[in-house]
């Protein structure tokens, strides 16, 4: 009897968990759709800015700009921004990003560089506190990164870089490639990779249309305005990618949890039936034995 009660208790608990994980999966699906829409909405802007930079850079020739060149006097100090989620239950999402960030941090410090750490999301803040690594700044952006806020932060990073406080600004985040593929990425935000390197690395066709543009102001002036915009767009894209990846990984994790709960429930029902049958058989045997003894 005690065993049956125990199994029944577990069965109720498993069913409750299954209900919770199923709900979380549905919420994550809804949030994923919204996050994906906002990430997709950003893409045309990002692509256009990149095309413009290439067009203008092709016309400007050799470019010298504080956001492209390494600082004249290197402070031997870099800024590492780690983007994670505020909540858990999203599979390997936070773990993968944090492992990559820790690896990056340890490599830089082992090479004798000073690393200033900024965390975005509660999970990163908690992780580095546990690792006894002090984060200079901790921020929370919520589920949907807002462009104005991201823009303000990117401007601060640009200012700090041009003032020479850091010689590099890197972002560790989960890059969204497709619904079935996300991977941790260390993005070098500043200094911007030289444009010729970028086009070689990406093996893209030259984007210059060959048209002779009338530039207003000059190509150099336009580029000076375009480059900070590129940095802001890159950072916003990284935030959006992180938001989409978090929701998709939570969706997958919750789906797996629901399936597991279903399997566990099925096996518990079997155990319960077996135990009940055993109990009935035992009781019958007892009645029959009792009756036989009376004869």
């Amino acid at each position: 009897m005690a065993q049956i009660r125990e199994i029944k208790k577990r069965l109720t608990a498993v069913k409750n968990i299954q209900r919770i994980t199923k709900t979380m999966q549905m919420i994550a699906t809804a949030r994923f759709t919204a996050a994906l829409q906002s990430a997709k909405a950003t893409q045309p802007y990002t692509e256009r800015i990149r095309t413009l930079v290439n067009e203008v850079a092709a016309a400007a020739g050799d470019i010298e700009h504080p956001l492209i060149n390494d600082p004249e006097t290197s402070p031997n100090r870099e800024l590492l921004i780690v983007i994670t989620s505020d909540r858990g239950l999203c599979g390997a999402y936070n773990g993968t990003v944090l492992r990559t960030a820790l690896h990056q941090y340890r490599n830089a410090t082992a090479a004798g560089r000073e690393v200033e750490l900024h965390t975005i999301g509660k999970k990163a803040a908690g992780f580095f506190k546990f690792q006894r690594i002090k984060a200079a700044e901790t921020h929370l952006f919520g589920d949907r990164p807002d462009y104005d806020t991201v823009n303000r932060f990117a401007s601060q990073y640009i200012d700090a870089f041009t003032e020479g406080r850091y010689d590099a600004v890197r972002v560790v985040y989960m890059q969204f490639e497709s619904t079935s593929r996300q991977r941790p990425e260390v993005l070098q935000l500043l200094p911007l990779r030289r444009l010729d390197e970028e086009s070689d690395a990406a093996e893209t066709k030259p984007t210059a249309t060959g048209a002779t543009y009338e530039f207003s102001p000059s190509a150099e002036g336009l580029l000076a305005a375009l480059l900070p915009q590129t940095v802001k767009t890159m950072f916003f894209q990284a935030m959006n990618d992180a938001a989409v990846s978090e929701q998709i990984m939570r969706m997958v994790a919750m789906k797996a949890a629901t399936e597991n709960a279903k399997d566990l429930g099925r096996s518990l029902v079997q155990q319960f039936n077996r135990a009940r049958q055993t109990q009935i058989t035992t009781e019958l045997m007892e009645v029959i034995s009792g009756a036989a003894a009376l004869e």
Binding site: Y45, R48, Y147, T209, A211, E214, F215, Q229
Partner: protein, 134 residues
């Protein structure tokens, strides 16, 4: 019928306008520019002000633009901006309130005057757009 070109307003949060136009007048950093079919390729920085798009249907649509870049090429005009707003969403009262707020900040010590000037230009453009569209 007048010849048309493709016009789009692209912002980081998505496209605000994407359609054909017969004429567009947009605020560049050094004044108002106009575009019709056949305009030579142009790349310019945008300023703060109103954008007017005349559609082939004979209507005009108005928007508020605040900085960005314009690219005119191959029979299309692309306006890339951080912040754009359709005239229908601009309120006169709100513009007035913004102007009053900026006027207070002008004389405040420690204010970033460059930012104040930008906010003032934006509030003026907003008010003028609200006035003309009402």
């Amino acid at each position: 019928m007048a010849e048309t070109f493709h016009c789009s307003i692209v912002t980081p949060t998505g496209p605000l306008f994407d359609g054909d136009a017969i004429y567009a007048s947009f605020p560049a950093w050094d004044g108002q520019y106009g575009m019709m079919v056949g305009k030579s390729p142009l790349l310019t920085r945008l300023g703060t002000g109103s954008l007017r798009i005349d559609t082939p249907e004979g209507t005009s649509r108005w928007f508020l633009l605040d900085g960005g870049f314009a690219q005119a090429d191959k029979g299309q005009l692309v306006l890339l901006t951080d912040s754009a707003m359709a005239a229908e969403d601009v309120s006169y009262e709100q513009a007035e309130a913004e102007l009053a707020d900026v006027a207070d900040r002008v004389s405040k010590p420690g204010e970033n005057q460059e930012q104040v000037c930008r906010d003032q230009a934006r509030a003026y453009a907003k008010r003028s757009l609200a006035r003309s569209s009402s």
